[in-house]
Symmetry: D2
Subunit: 474 residues, 4 copies
């Protein structure tokens, strides 16, 4: 073993070295000496070796048992920790729909989306699931990244939340409608809605199914998210149970996963009954905690729960800031739900609803107070670290938390074949940390290296063309 080590010396690269993406792709890459936490839940592999070839992981083993192939570039990861690329089950690469942002960047939304995907990647998120945004622009950026034309977190996208109207509508920010132009409002809303808006709520279930099938044929998305409850009107149910089932079945028939937006215990239960694969903010149920029977349903049916777990610092703030009626009370209930879900063994997913906010939005009448909160849970690039901190505070085991941020998400989204673990055959998405994430969730921030599709990411360059982010942004 000592001998072999010596042989490698000449090839060892400092993590901050000059290895470029193209070099990395050209020949195999071997990460040697670190502790591998592979995301399957099994014990960490000390003194591990991970060998990448092309965009795949080809071997995982221990020093002494597995050698890097001839010609491989060897990276010394001694004292470091290798984990699967992090994932976020719920981001909005275009989140800041303040009027100023919408109009100012009209025609340039792809730039904003790409910037957000780069902020994500820089912070270890190699895959993000975008659950509400302009479908065509998101798809364009997804392709630019997938085809290597741009760097950024791998994107899967839902487009609209089926059943909701666009950003400047009663489902979101209706106050802007009389101020910004009607023609523009209509065009803008259409970018989100893509023919799947609130009018679907009026239809018969079979018609809803037909509309979704047509939509999936003509307007490709990676998964479907629909409204089980209202957004602004969060006490209400959106689609009827039969319509929810029609959406889920049609989505499954197209080999996609289906998820629901829920904000009450009944909209949550209906979504589970409809057969969704995962529930977004399953833990947000207004003033009433989730009944034990519903938690049991989630566990039994293995419906993944994308939970908006927040740090105690943030909850403390939320409980004293009644931003709207019931806000602070709801924060307490979310906390109760999260503890109950963890205790019951529900499959939790790291989910943040995060995005990049324009500097101007920090002075916006709509967003300013929220954006001033401690441990702000929705700022892209920081939010996933806070989630992991919060999970730890709630008593989730470190290994469960790591899986919630990796393999659980891959599984819930039907992407386990390629993503979520450090195992041979998987896409080579890895994060190398300078400290043990299982010892302290703060160590997720100690990123030494991010590898996406087998290529080492030059994090210092991201985001490449900052638009909304300032140097101070994470």
């Amino acid at each position: 073993m000592a001998m072999r080590s010596l042989k490698w010396v000449g090839m060892l690269l400092a993590l901050t070295g000059a290895l470029t993406s193209s070099e990395a792709l050209a020949k195999p890459l071997a990460l040697v000496g670190g502790t591998v936490i592979d995301g399957t839940g099994q014990a960490p592999i000390p003194n591990g070796v991970v060998i990448l070839d092309g965009d795949r992981i080809v071997a995982v083993g221990r020093v002494g048992e597995l050698s890097p192939p001839r010609g491989a570039t060897v990276v010394d990861t001694k004292g470091k920790y290798i984990i699967p690329g992090l994932m976020d089950a719920n981001v909005h690469l275009f989140l800041d729909v303040e009027s100023e942002v919408l109009i100012r960047y009209d025609g340039h939304y792809e730039d904003l989306i790409l910037e957000a995907a780069q902020v994500a990647l820089k912070n270890g998120l190699t895959t993000v699931f975008d659950t509400w945004g302009p479908r065509q622009e998101l798809t364009a950026v997804k392709r630019r990244i997938a085809e290597g034309r741009d760097q950024g977190s791998r994107i899967f996208l839902a487009g609209n939340i089926v059943g909701f109207d666009g950003p400047i509508s009663e489902d979101f920010f209706v106050a802007a409608a009389p101020v910004i132009g009607q023609a523009y409002t209509d065009r803008l809303n259409a970018m989100w809605v893509q023919g799947t808006g609130r009018d679907l709520l009026y239809l018969a279930p079979e018609t809803v199914g037909e509309r979704i099938a047509k939509y999936l044929r003509e307007s490709p998305v990676d998964f479907v998210k629909y409204a089980s409850s209202g957004h602004v009107n969060e006490a209400f149910i959106a689609f009827s149970p039969a319509s929810q089932k029609a959406i889920v079945d049609t989505t499954h028939a197209a080999s996609l996963t289906a998820q629901a937006h829920t904000t009450s215990i009944e909209s949550l239960r209906l979504a589970i009954d409809a057969g969704v694969d995962l529930v977004q903010h399953c833990d947000s149920t207004g003033p009433v905690p989730i009944p034990a029977s519903t938690i049991a349903m989630m566990v039994d049916r293995k419906v993944a729960c994308a939970a908006m777990i927040q740090t105690q610092d943030h909850l403390g703030w939320a409980k004293t800031h009644n931003r709207r009626p019931g806000f602070s009370e709801a924060a307490g209930i979310t906390d109760v739900n999260d503890r109950n879900l963890i205790r019951a063994g529900a499959t939790l997913l790291l989910t943040t609803d995060s995005g990049v906010f324009a500097p101007s939005s920090y002075a916006s009448p709509i967003l300013a107070e929220m954006l001033s909160a401690p441990d702000l849970p929705t700022r892209m690039g920081d939010a996933h670290f806070l989630w992991l901190k919060a999970a730890s505070e709630l008593g989730m085991s470190p290994m469960d938390a790591l899986q919630a941020a990796t393999s659980n998400i891959a599984k819930a989204y039907g992407k386990s074949a390629d993503l979520g673990t450090v195992q041979p055959g998987k896409l080579a998405d890895l994060v190398v940390l300078n400290a043990d994430p299982l010892a302290n969730p703060a160590n997720y921030r100690a990123i030494a290296m991010v590898i996406e599709n087998g290529a080492i990411v030059d994090r210092d360059k991201l985001p490449v063309r900052p638009v909304l982010t300032t140097p101070a942004h994470p």
Copy 2:
């Protein structure tokens, strides 16, 4: 026969005569010579005799076969038409919740309610079902009328629509909230909500059931109306199917009928599935007509459909006045639904949502345009005549229309033992018309006499203490 007729001559009373209520109650009353249309759907009885004693009908027959009892007061109804007292399945005795009205008459809502009940009675409505209003004030007036302390249409009441917040809330007119005082708003809303507001939407079905059971024990109402869909947010569903069933079952367990507010085809279907006895504005389904299968369900399960049938004049106006997005389109769909429901043989009920509007409201920014519409379908005292006209325009048979305004309503509300037909044993609620209502629905307006509880109503004196109504009011 001729002989007996002669004997009666001395006792004959002009319909406009001096018979007072107390006299009427003192001795039997016989209506002799008119055509009796008894509300059962059977052929009219020409030359009929109806004998009342106390507050009941004691006999119905033909001249020559049935004689008035000795000492009876005989009313000559030759050339006239005797029908059951008219009913309205959906009124709001306190409808005008404009800020000015609410505040001005604070503490005096009973006066407004009584006035509306008198406007109704004056126009032939001997029974009205109030489906949304302040429970305690409505109950007080109901009792004043029931106990003979005041005259007015017999009242059955629901109080709140379970699941909705009060008049100055997001479910109704939220714009007034920042202008009128918070303390007053809270107190006012509580008069309507009575503990059955929007917070129930968040609860588990069994908890909803418990809350309703407690409510029915502590806050007596005559029937329960709940929100199957939103009011302002009419595309959304309010209670989940399981919660709807819990409400209906609890209501039935308390021996009351249950009805739902629905505004979409799915909220309609869910309500039927939940087992409601009737559906309010079953024909209001936004932009989508009711599927044939749902109409068939209504017919099969004999769920009564309280339909907002409107005259073609009004529809013509509505179709060109897009008061809010979709308004004019929805008017056309309502028309389609009504025709389909009639064709399918659904049990329709006359329902008007009507009330008395303050003169000031005709200049209100919220109501002015609506109140200027031709054949305004929501003005108490006129609305039921328009409904009968509209039903005729849609091709409903004259006899069906009469039953929709009488026996169908009694049956749907579980009041057939006492109300709805001109049959022995029933309460003596009658309307005597000067012309045949089966020949022309306009003849319902030709009221010669209204009898409630066996007493002839002095219509000229109603309303006794006009508050909102002006002399010009019907």
Copy 3:
């Protein structure tokens, strides 16, 4: 002297005794033994005697020099302080124009006005000048009090502020307009405007003069207040200089005093130039202190300055509560102005803008924050005490402060013949205090007795019919 004192013993009355108004009017009243501070500015008269007969003061002297007339009722005021009845140069007996109050008490505004006048009297204000309110209702109450039909502070009134529209207009609270009925809004505004609204701003000066002359002939008021600056739009000037002069001249021609509403240094200067007798809130000049030259003008021309002097506690609050842009800054400038005005020897008048607020208004979105301020300067019954405290804090001499609250006001309003001092021939309006007001302004609160028109006021009974005030109200 001792002898004479003995004679009186049998006639001495406890201040809290049973003397009724009618008894008081029946025979002369002598206040014996107290210190008289007569409001002329001369030194207090220890051991004083004040003799009242009917509604007038007939003699003022010292014990030993002046004896009560035979048959007089003698009140022992030893150890007490007799001052002129207090005055307030600026109240609004109907101030709370929140929608709820306006509508709820529509038709009963006189009750609210009388209540406020009684709150004032109870707290030592024997005369108030109402500078904005519904002219006819105020006049009715003024007469009821003047004719002895009701008790209350003597009222002089302006009606509208000429140039402004009514309470529910852009000059005051326009937000309520779309919520409350238009017909009602129009009627309400007309009660204030009385034909002297904003439309006058458009007219030529001579036309303005003609309109005012006609108004004064047809709609009697006691003095005229006009808009030199805007109210909501306080940076703007309302009437042009020539129009201001036309208003003042016309008013003087009708033997009335004229005053202006000013909120900037230029509107203040224009008003002085126009010849006004007094300026309301002369010290409110937004972000800019009054130039020395303008203060000199006020002093030279003896234009009285009704200053909104506020306590340091209140100013401290105001400086940290930026209720609207510039609010806190303006509070600091008012303080500077007040100090400069005092230093320059300007004739200051106690002025409070005070009124009675409904309990509901303390939760109103418009008023709640303001009403929660410490040393709230606009609450009728308390505000004048705070003014005297504030004046002391600013270094105004105790005697000047007393005159600002009495003789200065009488003089500025042209009422010196009857009011403002404790001198023979004046109306018998007196306040008897238990402690020396010159020693400590807090002693103005130590009211032992209030005499109006020669009659002792039964303060415990006031207000006689509380509407807006609660027991806790001062």
Copy 4:
């Protein structure tokens, strides 16, 4: 003469010919044979010759009396009419401050301004006076045009209207403030305000004068426009008379002309008294016509009146569209004022308040109704033609109208040395018409050629880079 004509034949150019600007500048240009209406008011010169050299007019005469210099390019204008370049005393090259436009073109306002200047030039306006807009951007475009880097109407600019806050303020469109970002709003408003906003209204006159002097030193403008009345608050007066005088005197001391924004007869009179050179929309006085004495003042003091004369078609519309209270009434008064001003011989100036509107604004809630009006008087490129039509309808003599659009404006703005007439020594700004404008004002639209600074404008190419204008735009 015939001989000389023959000599010219070879050099004659069709008006639509290939002469480029650079050629035009290279050698003298002679317009030969047309009727010259020189703007001085003297009779037209038939068969005229106008000789240009460089950017100046060097000679004006008649064929036969004046020959083109050797080497001159000769343009045959037989049958045509040569008039001075048209002017507009009041345009807004950046007028459309809808939120969508503001944000979308943030950073590109110069493009919008240049586009508007090109629309103006294309339609015969060789000089425009911009009376409200962003100073720095306007100045930049003015220079680009003045230095020949871009083509466009010659610009003189005021920047802000002194005393008003920016576009998103209570002086203009405050409703947008809560919707668009505060930081952006602040930055935007500052572009207009340039330190001369509403806060000046609070200052003492001498301080106002100092502020203006400093402003003129540091922020060059071509003339000063200030608020004599409010904009949104049009009944109010803005600056006090003394402050108005300080502004005018300071402006004159800087050798600039001063003008006022007035909207009432008193603000008009105050401005005249303050010594302004011209008054913008002198004819807009709300509900009251200008008194004869004030018209006489304008005439005597030769204060130019920039009148918003509108066509009878437009007035007819305005009188039936009460867009806001008093709108239709005010339209009638403007008409009365215009007739009186013409009759009295006031110096009227063509003034339009015109600008270019974005296509989106035609659907804007603020502008849509106004922009749909017939003979819309504020659309750049069309508005001045409508003014000339309207002036004719009111009976203004054709020659007076032509001077109102040319020499009167030059004189009022102190630009007579260079502009306003077709006289030797003046800048060579000319319009050649195909038909006689004195015969029919519609003939102003029959533009054959526009010459600015001696160069023939290629009108077909304007605007060079359309941003807001569509092909359909004039």
